[in-house]
Symmetry: C2
Subunit: 406 residues, 2 copies
């Protein structure tokens, strides 16, 4: 007898047959005596098609109106699932973002949840109804429809789970859990039984596209246990939970690889106070997110400044920095888009020394040159030449004892 | 400098090109200094396709959920038009039924408007924004999405025009106005410049499918001038307005024909108090609308009772009346589905005698036998054999001087 929030992604509700499959899963949970709140994405492809339609109207469609348009996708699947459940003689009701009182800021297309009233959901649940909520959408203080950005239904689900104090939030997707690394790169990747919120945050931000990162932040903040699993099998997936004692036994939990980065180096920058600000202020003003920053001392009052930016912003960032270099009198600007950031992640490394040296040794043994290094409390990242990325992942996966036994 | 409400039907917004055409019309009106509120239907065919989708879920899809599904159609066109106007650098905002505070009862699929707050529309208009409202939809007191039934966007438009005190409500459709009769039946049919609300109500209920009848009731109640015109030409259409002196000069304004009727006669019914109730109560209980009722006296305490029902309910009504006839001891039940109701309509006939006799004479001159007659203050209807219906329409159109001069 639990209160369970289930979220189904676009591939799980791609057509009426799959919606029937979802309905069957929902009633199985309900028939065990649980209360169920379902959060849905739009049918796979629908959101992209609506965006294409809007782009035929304008290359930069009005963001407020785009949200009104996009919100129809989740409205459609929510109505169809509730209708399917009613046809199966189960009490069910669909509700939209504004009806669920999902209050957001007014950053159309990428709105953030401020608060969820959820009185209506609680009332319906107390009537033993299966509540079907259109994910991805909310409304701002002025009642305008907003959407939460790509993957926003994950955040809808976790935020609603938090507000109704659900026992668990199940995220149904087309993969069966979180892996120690990308199985396409490393065949020995293992599905994890458990992962901590902090590890998942590092994994999500480094390219494991299973959960929207904001949903994990929500889950951590409100301590919502999240169960990532497949809607196409009955197998248990991966629990994303608070860090516990057992996790720390494993030094490293996962290895990630992010090829969507490019490196920029300003050579022979005058080493004066305020120079870093001059280098990075114009990039930030252009909305470009700088990830790693490394400064190497040279002799003679000069320094080399190296940093990474997303691939999509590489050309723009290069143009800006050429201008900056001219102004501050740096010698040259070098760019390299063919890099990859390989990281090892684990809450266990807080209590273990030697993780960095094991990582560097493992890479050195394969003659993989490390170009940049950055660290957080539970992560060590190395930038390597792109062509060595897959090899680096496999080497580290083995070195940290993550390979499955088979 | 007026406040103008414009409603565009499904064929007028059937694709992005047509939506651009609508946007151009809207800005032409706006650029003349007028404030404009636009009400839209779904793209032609979309509502039918959504209904088909729902029927794949269930032959009787849940009505509440069906409304949630159907409401996406108008949400889509409203967003696309507002987006198009923004792309043309005009200030515009789309709003949905619940945002426009279109409060309805909770008769899902056929809801009636109780009240329209319209504060939001008024505020946006005062900011010189072009307001684009999703037609056909509202929400009930509990915040559930409702739809207003087939043609409901007309009613949305007129009700909103009433609530914002618009100077005129323009209904853009795929015909260029209201005709004296169906041009497909009578090539000499003329487009009317003006028609009164009452005449339009009689026309609408008798099969001229240009305006949803409830929209005309609203227009009459709140005295909203309605202009029915084509979205594909610049030509003036037909004004639906309060009756005025000039209208009464014309005795008859239009001729209509309704083939969607069937006749049922109970022969030799005992002429006793309470018999009529016994005949009609079971039909009403079955939700069948009885239109004309005629009772002929016979000698010997017996009477013949004749009435008409919609074609779609004919077989059901026959079965019910055969049962009734057995109970009350009537001799026989006769049915005739091959009839048509031909009517002449005009506010002028209130002040002119002789309309009925002119009608009967014109039909008699062509040897068209009249089977039933019924009248209202501004209408005379005759039931004739179906095969004579078109001939009857043309004869009456000529007899009452409605033929165009060409």
């Amino acid at each position: 007898m639990a209160l369970i929030v289930q979220k189904y992604g676009g591939t799980s509700v791609a057509d009426l047959d799959r919606i029937r499959n979802v309905a069957q899963r929902v009633v199985n949970t309900y028939d065990q005596g649980n209360d169920v709140v379902v959060i849905l994405s739009a049918m796979a492809g629908v959101t992209d098609n609506l965006i294409k339609l809007a782009q035929q109207v304008s290359t930069t469609p009005d963001r407020r109106e785009l949200d009104v348009l996009l919100a129809t996708g989740e409205q459609t699947t929510a109505a169809l699932l509730a209708m399917t459940l009613r046809a199966m003689q189960y009490p069910s009701e669909s509700i939209l973002g504004h009806q669920a009182q999902v209050l957001t800021d007014c950053d159309f297309g990428n709105a953030r949840i401020i608060d969820i009233g959820a009185e209506r959901i609680r009332r319906l649940v107390s009537e033993r109804k299966i509540v079907v909520v259109a994910g991805f959408q909310g409304s701002d203080a002025d009642g305008n429809i907003t959407t939460l950005g790509r993957g926003g239904s994950d955040t809808s689900a976790v935020a609603i789970a938090a507000s109704v104090k659900a026992d668990t939030c199940e995220i149904y997707t087309d993969v069966d859990g979180i892996y120690t690394t990308d199985p396409n790169i490393c065949p020995k990747a293992r599905k994890m039984e458990r992962i901590s919120y902090d590890e998942m945050l590092e994994m999500a931000s480094l390219g494991a596209k299973v959960l929207q990162i904001r949903s994990v932040e929500f889950a951590k903040k409100y301590n919502v246990p999240v169960h990532v699993r497949s809607s196409f099998s009955e197998e248990e997936g991966t629990m994303v939970v608070n860090e516990d004692a057992s996790m720390e036994k494993l030094v490293v939990s996962g290895v990630t690889c992010d090829k969507n980065q490019a490196r920029i180096t300003l050579k022979k920058v005058p080493d004066q106070p305020g120079i870093a600000a001059k280098v990075f202020e114009p990039v930030a003003a252009a909305g470009i997110v700088v990830d790693m920053i490394i400064q190497n001392m040279r002799s003679g009052g000069q320094t080399d400044l190296t940093f990474t930016v997303p691939m999509t912003d590489f050309e723009r960032a290069m143009a800006i920095e050429r201008e900056v270099a001219r102004e501050i009198g740096a010698e040259d600007v070098l760019g390299d888009p063919e890099i990859a950031k390989v990281s090892v992640i684990g809450v266990g490394m807080k209590n273990h020394s030697g993780v960095a040296s094991l990582m560097f040794t493992a890479l050195a043994d394969e003659n993989i040159n490390i170009r940049l290094i950055s660290t957080s409390e539970i992560r060590i990242s190395c930038v390597v030449t792109e062509k060595y990325a897959e090899l680096a992942v496999r080497v580290l996966h083995t070195a940290f004892g993550l390979d499955k036994n088979c």
